[in-house]
Amino acid sequence: MNIVVAMKQIPDLQQIRIRNRKPVFEDVALTFGNIDKNALEAGVQLKEATGSNLIVVSVGNEALEDTIKEALAAGADEAYLVLDNEIEDMESSSSARLIAETIQKMDDVGMVLFGEGSGDNYSGQVGSRVAEILGLPQVGYANSININGSSATVTRSLEDCEEVLEAELPIVVSVIADINEPRIPSVSQILKAGRKPKEILELDVTGDSMLETISNLAPEMQRKRIEVETVKKLLRYLEIEGIIRR
């Protein structure tokens, strides 16, 4: 059985600086989002438990050929990549179509894993869209996944409760950060990563644009910034604000 993990290459958020309220991407390293790394780790654990083959799928610009080594070092067996330099800000609908088309080229896929949201946009749509395109059942926000033969038991964490769900494979699952602690690859794993098989797919990346970004700026802080010297004065202000009554 093949287990697929879809991962998104994003700018390292810690390295993004703001200049004139605009984000600056120059010299910012590319990496995978943290929750995508949890999805990969979940895939590695399931692969080890079931003796499956773990394939990482990603869509991004040319730098992805390098970034993908992170995932191959951390335990993926092979990679399927869709590369295009024009797709800097690909919309969820297009990424989902390309990921689904890539998965359709594989045989015997038992599970497709996603992080609950990408690190940069965090829209959380792609997993659901891929599940719909592939016509598969889905479980989002998983904090535990077990594969038992041809079915899976997944526990998911919602705001107010947990649900334990069961489904026959194949199934699409998105995970939350709580599910595991991603392993740090060893030096020998990093060295071997470059030799693992990588398939570059030629797919038509042009898709209908459904979204438009009008502006994207760091928020302006419109706060009063009143300095108070004593607790008494602070409480007086909070009374005036109507927040506390005494």
């Binding site: 984000p23 609908s93 869209r129 409760c161 602070l234």
Partner: protein
């Protein structure tokens, strides 16, 4: 005429969506709401003036996102809706992507504000992990918008609502719900709290926590914390983390104790109505995004504050 359809499995969020829909619908839109296997919710929505369509179908399971999106697609088509508003909680977000795909719609989630202009709906949402706030719009004819909890107040009572039935065909996708259980551990709901007292690394002594708990209690609020206080110091569970990797909160008042104010934290609290920063470090960045700043020794301030409000 274009129409808006609203749905959330949670009544409170559905009522917020109703208000969001009213903002969009100012002129040329009709608003319909759907309730699924929830008579009580249908009545509440109708009492707030919504034309409500009940879907009653025992085969339709909330946990089966494929079946749920198919049901909503059918409802949207029957009711001539080209805009569907969902709640951007976990269930709602999961549903949003799947419905958008089958509805052939552009989709935005975690929308924390809406502005309408010349018939365009501008959606405001955090991107780049909260470092920036984008204004985006969906340019496809069909739109799915998932709106963050508390972005809008809940709708008030209004006359003119109605309850009707809506029949849909359901094909379960094979997801079986085995068990629903309470979440283990800390059940604090810091997103729901109107007042938060937030513990940062500037609170150096764990012995100060009981005083901080008392302050929060006296104010009728909850205690929350920055990420390192939960993950490194382990003073609290992860349920109480404010910020990008925790909860995005929007309280009336946030009293921030000893937090330096990195963007990953700020994104979780910057929509609070009033922010108070109490910090030993008068240069803390947090002070720049506070309404009231008390630069003082926390060790002295905490007992004093507790005494004054206790």
């Amino acid at each position: 005429m274009a129409g808006i359809l609203i749905y959330s499995d949670k009544t409170k969020l559905a009522l917020e969506l109703l208000n969001a829909a009213k903002l969009i619908a100012k002129t040329a839109f009709t608003i319909n709401s759907v309730s699924i296997n929830n008579d009580e919710q249908a009545e509440e929505l109708a009492a707030k003036g919504a034309q409500t369509y009940k879907i009653i179908n025992p085969e339709l399971n909330l946990a089966d996102t494929a079946a749920m999106s198919s049901a909503l697609l059918q409802a949207a088509e029957k009711l001539n809706a080209n805009i569907v508003l969902l709640s951007s909680d976990r269930r709602g977000k999961e549903l949003a992507g799947r419905l958008a795909q089958v509805f052939n719609a552009g989709c935005l989630t975690d929308v924390k504000g809406l502005e309408t202009e010349n018939g365009n709906i501008k959606c405001i949402r955090n991107v780049l992990g909260g470092a920036t706030v984008a204004i985006q719009q969906i340019i496809s004819d069909k739109k799915v918008i998932a709106i963050s909890p508390k972005a809008f107040p809940a709708a008030d009572d209004e006359a003119g609502g109605s309850i009707n039935k809506c029949e849909v065909d359901i094909k379960p996708s094979g997801i079986k719900l085995i068990e629903t259980r309470e979440k283990a551990g800390d059940s604090a709901d810091i997103e729901a709290a109107e007042i938060l007292v937030v513990v940062g690394q500037g609170v150096e002594n764990k012995d100060d926590l009981p005083t901080i708990m008392q302050i929060a209690k006296a104010l009728g609020g909850e205690v929350a914390c920055s990420k390192p206080v939960a993950t490194d110091k382990k003073w609290f569970g992860e349920e109480r983390i404010v910020g990008l990797s925790g909860k995005i909160c929007k309280p009336e008042l946030a009293i921030i104790l000893g937090v330096s104010g990195q963007v990953q934290f700020n994104v979780g609290i910057r929509d609070a109505r009033i922010i108070v920063s109490i910090n030993n470090d008068e240069k803390a960045y947090m002070n720049q995004m506070a309404d009231y700043v008390l630069a003082a020794d926390l060790k002295e301030v905490l007992p004093e504050l507790n005494k004054a409000i206790g």
